[in-house]
Symmetry: C2
Subunit: 130 residues, 2 copies
Amino acid sequence: MSRLNLTTQRKTILDLIQSCEDHPTAAEIMERLRTNGHQFAYGTVYNSLRYLTDAGLIRELKLGETACRYDGRTEDHYHIVCKKCGRVDEVLSAPPAEWIREVAAKTNYDVHHSQVVFEGVCNSCKHPNA
Amino acid sequence: MSRLNLTTQRKTILDLIQSCEDHPTAAEIMERLRTNGHQFAYGTVYNSLRYLTDAGLIRELKLGETACRYDGRTEDHYHIVCKKCGRVDEVLSAPPAEWIREVAAKTNYDVHHSQVVFEGVCNSCKHPNA
DNA sequence: ATAGTATTTAGACTTAGTATAAATTTAATT
DNA sequence: AATTAAATTTATACTAAGTCTAAATACTAT
């Protein structure tokens, strides 16, 4: 991974993801590209998503669904998924460092990173009548 | 999900998973069944895994790999994956309740559950020469 | 014994993603 | 500006993991 090589396709895909309010899957990204008048090969989209992820320009989210989702926010954060409607929101509070230290001590691992996915019911689904 | 219906196949699969020290995938479970002289249909294994998971007798782990893994430990716990060798260990410390409360407050969700997967380097991989 | 429900089986199918080889684009060198 | 080399895109075949379906089998309750 030397210097950045943003081809037209990669740039277009990066722009699209950065402009998203949500966290689209690869399939959704392809659909939106088509809507915007772009038609890239299947493999190019996957290739670009990998490239952009490796370059640290986007994040790949594994939320326990069958497909990965992509996120234009690159700062460290987590996610919460609504069981009812499937909506995904950002969680900006990090797990307490004290807890991470405890886990490292107990498991004898060097802990580099943690993926956290909360599950629950979102505000709209809590008040379905409103 | 009324009362428990443990067929021969389901019981065999449950026993196998409970006897595992590790966290096998569906494919690994099929392989081990075959080794033990059982030959169940492909779909039966998946069906049973779902049934046992829904019944709360085993846990389905989504560790960010392409395949789910299964765990005979049903008490609440988390996992840590070694980046180098892929080994998966149990993490028995729960995330601090205070943090969960904070997340619920900030996101406006009712938080029911959290999946946490730590990534790091295990003890053996830290000392490769030993 | 018989009808009705649930489960297993075998195999087709789906989804998400990877691999490959040819064509194209880009960059570097002369 | 022409030529070579490297990287990328394209089209398409393929793989992995799991779901779906219809027929066969097993279990349950009269």
